[in-house]
């Protein structure tokens, strides 16, 4: 009887050891995988805004490869998990849930006002750091305590553009062609407020749907109002807009924000003459050379912008690991606020709150080239 009991205990212990071995075999690779730091990325890889989205993706991939080639962050390799949102809020929410629920990412890098605003409440609820590399809608300022904007918001940018239009271009009247969505309407209001505050007059404001490319009727109405300048706040389709300006032989000064800053728009002969805003973000020669070697062309504007944004994430992650804390959204947020000032490509990126502060450049497109005109503080 006693022997039977011993046998039972013996086999029970063997079972426990075996189960433990099996468990450690199953869990082992997962632990090894956890050594990687996962960073979620949600960008328009396809769709109308994919030109900018692919610039951003290229920069992120390059930066992560550079860090991993140097051994990663404290020995941890970085893994980018990239999802395509076509710049649509609904697809962004699906991608956010997938990355946070299935892949358990503590941080997501994204852009575009509509998608980021849609993801902001989820970031708060799930305590995931949401780093906005490019969107500038004013509502982003306080959309979530976990949302950090790496560019000044549209209010500041368009204030600079309105100031330039009045003080340097000596315009007195302006019209606004805006995209009727979460990004376009605040921009319309910000430009109109800044322009009228400086003594200018807004003579017409015309809204168009997102992704519209037939602006003829709206341009005809704007032309009838005879403004000195027209500010176009659309996300894409600048070549078509510029072509329709030419068709109607419109001679007013043409203004745009950073959205026009894509090679397809700058390279189109019809856009020559456009003034637009940009952020001073120059790639150092060695970085530009590495980018050119890999992709075959110079580092574009949105690429530089997102390279900057990812450096912020990596610096915050570095601090969290150095402090022996788990890499969670909460800890990353605390680290980001504690660091405050980050070294960007062309100078410091300062976070006094949720939004970065930096100077704003005014550029002009001249025969396929983007020429700097002035830097507004």
């Amino acid at each position: 009887m006693a022997r039977n009991r011993l046998d039972f205990a013996h086999w029970t212990m063997r079972g426990i050891y075996l189960s433990g071995a099996l468990l450690s075999f199953l869990v082992g690779p997962a632990h090894a995988d956890d050594a990687k730091i996962k960073i979620g990325v949600i960008l328009p890889i396809t769709g109308p805004a994919s030109d900018g989205g692919n610039q951003e993706k290229r920069a992120l991939v390059l930066e992560v490869d550079q860090i991993n080639a140097k051994g990663g962050l404290h020995g941890h390799q970085i893994e980018l998990l990239i999802e395509d949102n076509q710049a649509k809020p609904d697809l962004s929410v699906v991608a956010f849930n997938k990355l946070t629920s299935l892949d358990d990412v503590p941080v997501i890098v994204s852009g575009f006002s509509g998608p980021v605003l849609a993801m902001a409440p989820l970031a708060t609820r799930k305590k995931v750091l949401l780093l906005n590399g490019g969107a500038q809608g004013d509502k982003l300022a306080d959309a979530s305590p976990y949302l950090f904007n790496c560019l000044p918001l549209v209010q500041n940018e368009l204030g600079a553009l309105a100031t330039f239009a009045i003080q340097d271009l000596h315009t007195k009247t302006a019209a606004i062609l805006f995209q009727n969505d979460a990004g376009g309407t605040p921009a319309r209001d910000d430009f109109a407020a800044a322009y009228t505050k400086l003594g200018g007059q807004i003579v017409d404001m015309e809204g168009v749907p997102f992704d519209d490319s037939n602006f003829r009727a709206e341009l005809a109405k704007i032309a009838a109002a005879k403004p000195d300048a027209v500010f176009a706040m659309i996300t894409q389709n600048f070549p078509q807009l510029a072509q329709q300006y030419l068709e109607q032989k419109l001679t007013f000064i043409r203004l745009a924000n950073t959205n026009i800053n894509v090679p397809a728009a700058i390279g189109d002969p019809a856009t020559s003459g456009f003034y637009h805003t940009a952020f001073k973000l120059e790639a150092p020669p060695e970085l530009n050379a590495a980018y050119k070697e890999r992709y075959g062309f110079d580092m574009e504007f949105y690429a530089r912008q997102f390279y900057n944004a990812l450096s912020v994430v990596l610096k915050a992650t570095d601090k969290v690991i150095a402090d022996n804390q788990p890499v969670t959204g909460e800890n990353l947020r605390a680290a980001l606020l504690a660091i405050g000032t980050f070294q960007g490509l062309s100078g410091p990126i300062v976070f006094k709150g949720n939004t970065a502060e930096m100077g704003i450049s005014i550029m002009q497109i001249q025969n396929g080239k983007d020429v700097p005109i002035k830097v507004m503080q």
């Binding site: 396809t46 109308p48 062609l177 015309e206 490319s213 037939n214 005809a220 068709e247």
Partner: protein
């Protein structure tokens, strides 16, 4: 000046929309099926023309080839999708869902092959400008105008003066009687889909030449065209065509009193308004 510009632009847009409405009316009035996949044929037509242009073919040849491919797709849809369903006594709703499925397949196939990014046509005749009085107008717009009028004349002529047209009218009027009279409604219906699909390739190519191509844009155009078709009375070529022009002109002229963001709302408001007073359509006989 502004009035004239908005008017001319509205007429041009209306002709493009009217051609889509004509093709859709031809199909709907004959088959009584809401052929949603027509939006897919519309989009595919432009992509095919873009492809043929990329192969170095001249513009008109590319458009003709694209239209012929659309014609084949339209006929095949009826022959291999709708006819088997109808023979199994599927309800019109089931056929419409099948059509919706086909639309999704076409759009997603286009997105997979060509990517969902905007594709711009190479600069050909579409970009040159002529002055119509004080109003500048592109060749593509002039062609849109001519195409709309020709499509209307062609369909009216087909319906009134050809044997096929008479058969189409007979099938549209009563398919059962047409069968008894040995007018072969099945074959007639295949022709209807083929002609409708051929016609819809023309406006899609012109729209794409001016504003670029997108895989998922067809349904929006079909929605506007179906408003014109329904508001005109579901079977009148004249009604569908001229109501398309009227809606496009009014949508444009609304800009004289309203900001641009209201222009789409104006179209739907006009539709609701018309339906309240003429629920059977403007060009339908009172029932």
């Amino acid at each position: 000046m502004l009035f004239l510009r908005l008017l001319i632009d509205g007429i041009v847009n209306g002709c493009v929309l009217g051609t889509i409405a004509l093709s859709f009316t031809l199909i709907y009035s004959t088959t009584r099926l809401f052929h949603v996949a027509h939006a897919g044929v519309f989009t595919l037509g432009a992509y095919l023309v873009w492809t043929f242009l990329g192969l170095g073919l001249p513009g008109p040849v590319a458009v003709v080839l694209g239209a012929l491919c659309c014609m084949a797709l339209g006929a095949a849809t009826q022959q291999f999708l709708y006819t088997p369903l109808i023979e199994r006594r599927a309800s019109p709703l089931v056929v419409m869902i099948a059509s919706l499925g086909l639309l999704a397949i076409i759009e997603n196939a286009i997105a997979a092959i060509y990517t969902p990014n905007i594709l711009l046509f190479p600069p050909w005749w579409g970009k040159d400008i002529v002055q119509l009085g004080s109003v500048p107008i592109t060749y593509a717009q002039l062609l849109s105008l001519a195409m709309g009028l020709l499509a209307y004349v062609f369909l009216m002529g087909l319906a009134r003066f050809t044997l096929l047209g008479k058969r189409i009218r007979a099938v549209a009027s009563n398919a059962f009687l047409a069968e008894i009279r040995q007018l072969d409604p099945k074959r007639v219906t295949i022709w209807v889909y083929a002609i409708g699909s051929l016609l819809v390739c023309l406006p899609s190519s012109l729209i794409a030449a001016e504003f670029g191509l997108r895989p998922y844009s067809g349904l929006l155009y079909l929605l506007d065209a179906s408003i014109a078709m329904i508001a005109s009375g579901l079977g009148s070529f004249t009604g569908a065509f001229f109501l398309s022009i009227l809606l496009a002109v009014l949508q444009n002229l609304s800009l004289m009193v309203l900001p641009g963001q209201w222009s789409i709302g104006v179209t739907f408001f006009l539709f609701v308004f018309l339906m309240l007073f003429r629920p059977y359509g403007l060009f339908a006989h009172a029932r």
